[in-house]
Amino acid sequence: MGYLEEMAKYQKTEKQKSFSADFLEGQQIEDYEFWDEIEIGKETVVPFKFEVKAEDMMAYAEGVPDANPVFYDEEYARKCGYDGLVAHPLFISQVLFFLLQKGHGSWIRTPGARNPGQIFEWHDPIRVGDILTLKNKGYDKWIKKGKYYLRYLSELYDQDGKLKVRGYITMILPKSKADVLRYVKGERALEA
């Protein structure tokens, strides 16, 4: 059984079942944006939205794994002082990957990408029923010790335009499409 089939066993939600999971698939690479193409200062609103369902929030907590009942039991969460089911703080990972499947910001999917650390600010709780919109802006890129860094701002807003989460995200990326294609073939391309 291949690794994609192994992972399919864990898919529970509608979004998980419909998501294109093969990050090495050729057509997807054509739709990615690469480090050497990223325009600093360019801001985009991703043309897709994420409608938050309880199953999405619970599936994320399960995958941490984190069994805290505030993430699964609405009644318990209310007793703890919340106004409904609570999203795990890093639930935003699921939202970002769902929304960034192609175009500006899709660099998070590129084979060979590395995560050196992140900053997240939570401004307002994500709630079941929220319809989230993502705004992305690259604001710095640099080369250090042969590695290609990108820092960008990701902001999630709800259906009323209220800021929910802001991320100052740093990534180390392959430099170009040619370098990503080397990774796709499974070639070691650390210098890329």
């Binding site: 690794y3 994609l4 192994e6 992972m7 864990y10 898919q11 979004k15 998980q16 998501f19 999971a21 093969d22 990050f23 090495l24 599936a59 994320y60 399960e62 995958g63 941490v64 794994p65 984190d66 805290n68 505030v70 703890c80 002082g81 919340y82 609570v86 795990h88 703080p89 890093l90 990972s93 699921q94 990957f97 769902f98 998070i108 999917r109 084979p111 060979g112 990408a113 590395r114 995560n115 050196p116 650390g117 992140q118 900053i119 997240f120 600010e121 939570w122 709780p125 990774y183 499974g186 070639e187 070691r188 391309a189 650390l190």
Partner: protein
């Protein structure tokens, strides 16, 4: 009976209960599905054997899963009393290979008595592998009732 956690009850230097997690390939796969981050550096052992993105021939766990488990230390402690995570900053120092067992912890570093509903503490966070090497460090700001 344990004293209820409040901003007043917390002191700088308080140590939070640790979280421990074995990182099997199944744990990584389940996180990949949960986060929708199917990058082969985490999910495809065959690809990792040759691509070696981190110079390692095996999959590594997601950086955001490390962050999630660091956050779990905070949410285990403060969410049962209605705490709210405001900000988290994490530096990922060392890749975590499949098969590792990591421990995640935190200590109260600062108290900010801003006012009712706004009072928050700053926690120093860490994650360590089974060899005692730090794999990540960070800070978290969390409001407490």
């Amino acid at each position: 009976m344990a004293k209820k956690l409040t901003f007043e009850s917390v002191n700088c230097g308080d140590v939070l209960p640790e979280v421990r997690q074995h990182i099997s390939q199944e744990v990584i796969w389940e996180h990949a599905v949960a986060s929708l981050d199917y990058n082969p550096v985490h999910t495809d052992p065959e690809w990792c054997r040759t691509a070696q993105v981190f110079g390692l021939p095996v999959p590594v766990m997601h950086g955001n899963q490390t962050m999630s488990l660091m956050a779990k230390v905070v949410t285990n402690w403060a969410y049962p009393v209605g705490g709210k995570l405001k900000r988290m900053e994490v530096k990922l120092i060392k890749p975590v290979q499949v098969g590792s067992t990591c421990t995640y912890g935190a200590v109260v570093a600062e108290k900010h008595p801003i006012g009712k509903g706004e009072n928050f503490v700053v926690l120093d966070l860490w994650a360590m592998n089974q060899d005692g090497e730090k794999v990540a460090v960070g800070t978290a700001e969390i409001t407490l009732p």
